[in-house]
C-alpha cells in the first residue's frame, strides 16, 4: 500500500530535471522530500499528478500504473495536492472554494444536476454541511462568505488545504504547505498532518524548513540536480556528506 516512483525521469531537451528517481510513499506515515532550490522537487510532484509528461520510468499508485494518466483521473484515483504558489479560485467565496474539493465524491447524474432534481440538491446540501465542518475545524467559519481572493496569504493556504482534504484522498502531496506561516500556525498544521498520517493517509511533504521536516517525517529523500543524493531517517540523511555539500557547498566547491 504505497505510492511508488520507479526510475522516474524528466528531460527538457538537453536539461535533465529528474533522473532515475526511486521513491516510496507508504500510507500511514509522512515522507519528506527536500533539496535546494531548483533540485527538481516540484517537477516530481507535477509528474505524479499528471500535469507534466513523464520522460521515463513509472509511477505506481498501489496496484495501478498512473504514469500516463490524466490529472483528473489521478485525483479520482485518490491523490490530492496543494500548490507551492497558492492557487485558489479568487472570484469564489471561501465556502465555494472548499465545495469544489468534494467534486470527486459527487455522484448525482448529469441530468439531475442539469435540471436541479432533488438528488442534485441533496448532494449539494450534504457537501455544504461537510465544508462548514471543515471550516470550523480550521477556525475559518467566520470567513465562509468572503471572496477567497481577498484573504491573507496564510488563510489562502488553509483554504487550499481544506480543499485538498475535501477530496478525501488516500495520498496527499503537499508542496511547501507552511511557507509564509508563523510558528504557531505551522505547529497546528504539523499536528494536522500527523493526524492524517495516523488515519492511514500517505503524505509526501516538500519543505524547505528542515526543522519542520525532521520533526514530522519518518523518512526523507534528498534531491539535488534532479538526482536523489540521500535517503533515510532525517537525522541520518541530513548528516550525509553529499547533503551537506548540496546545501552549504562541498569542500571542493
Amino acid at each position: 500500500m504505497a505510492l511508488k516512483l520507479v526510475n522516474l525521469s524528466k528531460r527538457f531537451g538537453g536539461v535533465t530535471a529528474s533522473a532515475d528517481v526511486n521513491m516510496t510513499v507508504p500510507r500511514g506515515t509522512i515522507t519528506g522530500l527536500i533539496g535546494p532550490n531548483g533540485a527538481g522537487k516540484t517537477t516530481i510532484i507535477n509528474m505524479i499528478t499528471g500535469m507534466m509528461d513523464v520522460s521515463g520510468g513509472q509511477i505506481l499508485l498501489e496496484d495501478r500504473d498512473i504514469t500516463r494518466a490524466a490529472p483528473d483521473d489521478i485525483c479520482r484515483a485518490g491523490l490530492a495536492r496543494t500548490f507551492q504558489n497558492i492557487r485558489i479560485l479568487p472570484e469564489n467565496s471561501v465556502l465555494d472554494n472548499i465545495l469544489i474539493g468534494f467534486h470527486r465524491h459527487e455522484h448525482c447524474s448529469t441530468l439531475s444536476a442539469l435540471f436541479g432534481l432533488p438528488a442534485s440538491r441533496q448532494e449539494t446540501q450534504a457537501i455544504r454541511d461537510k465544508a462548514r465542518s471543515l471550516l470550523t475545524q480550521f477556525g475559518m467559519s467566520a470567513y465562509a462568505d468572503y471572496p477567497a481572493g481577498g484573504l491573507s496569504y496564510g488563510h489562502q493556504r488553509k483554504v487550499e488545504m481544506m480543499r485538498a482534504l475535501a477530496s478525501e484522498p488516500d495520498y496527499m502531496l503537499l508542496d511547501e504547505p507552511i511557507a509564509g506561516m508563523n510558528d504557531v500556525e505551522s505547529d497546528i498544521l504539523a499536528e494536522l498532518f500527523q493526524h492524517l498520517a495516523e488515519a492511514g493517509k500517505g503524505i509526501l511533504l516538500i519543505e524547505h524548513n528542515i526543522r519542520f521536516v525532521s520533526k514530522l517525517c519518518e523518512k526523507i529523500y534528498v534531491l539535488d540536480g534532479g538526482r536523489l543524493i540521500a535517503e533515510g531517517p532525517p537525522a541520518q540523511a541530513l548528516r550525509d556528506p553529499a547533503v551537506i555539500a548540496a546545501y552549504i557547498g562541498g569542500s571542493d566547491a
Binding site: 483528473d72 490530492a80 472570484e91 469544489i100 442539469l114 449539494t124 494536522l192
Partner: protein
Amino acid sequence: MNAYVLGYLPLFDLFLLHLGLAYSQWLVLRSGVFSLATVGVAGVGAYTGGVLVVTYGLPAPVALVAAAIGGGLVSLLLAIPLARLRGVYQAIATVAFIQIMLSLNNYAEKITGGAAGLNGIPKVVDTLTLAVCALATIYLMTAITGSRIGRAFDAIRQNEAVAASLGVSIEAHHRLAFIVSGALAGFYGALEAFHSYTLVPSQFGFPFLIAILSYVVFGGRNTIWGPIVGTALLIILPELARPLAEARMLVYGLLLILTINFLPKGVADTLIERIHAKRLRAKPAPAPAPTAGS
C-alpha cells in the same frame, strides 16, 4: 393604458427572445470557453425549425424540439476541434463558424430559400409562450449553477490546473457546456423563426453576435442576473434615446466602452458584489486569525 402596454409588447418579446440567446452565450463563458458560436447555432435552429414546418409540415412544437437537438448536436461537433483551443483562438474559430453557417444558409437555396429568405413561417409563438420559455431557461441556468456542474465550470474558468487536480474533467465539462449552450441557441433560434414569419441568412451574422455578446458583457458574466439586466437595459435604452435616434449606435458603443472600463464585471455583477461586500462589512468582523487546526 392597455394600448400603451400593448405598444411595448413587441419590445418585450424581443427582450425574451434575446435573453435566451444571451444565456446561451453566458453559459459557455461561465465554463471558461470563449466561444461566440451562439448566433451561428441559433441560425441552425431557426432554419431547422422553419424548414421542418414550412417544407415538411411538421407541427411547431416538434420542430422546436428538433431545433434544440440540432443545435446541441452542431455545437457538440464544434466542440471537438475547439477542445484544444483557448481564449481568443476559440473566439476566432467560432466567428469563422458563424460565417460558414451564414454562407451555407445562403447557398443552400433549395432548402433555405437562399438570400431571398424562408417565407410563410406561421407565427405561432406569442408573448406568453416566450415568457414561459424564459422562466424555464432561468430556472435551468440557476439549477446548473448551483450543481456540481456549475461548481466545476467555476473552477475551470478560474484555473484549469486546479480544476484538473481536483478531479474535474475539463474536456467532459466543456463538451457539456457546448451541448447545453447549443441546444439553448437552437431552441431560441427556432422560437425567433416562429415569431417572425420570415428568415434571412444575414439575420444571424456579425451584428447579431455583437448584440448578444454585449448583453452579457454589459450585464455581467458570472451571476444569473447579468444577462437579464444587460439584455433589458440594452433593449430599452435605444427606445428611451429615441430623440437621439440618429446617434443610437454611437450612444450604444459609448456605453459599452464605459462599462468595460469602469464596470468590467458588468452592471449587475458589480452591483451584486457591492451589496454583498456591504453585508459582510455590516457583520461583526471575524476574530483575528483564530488558528485552530484539527
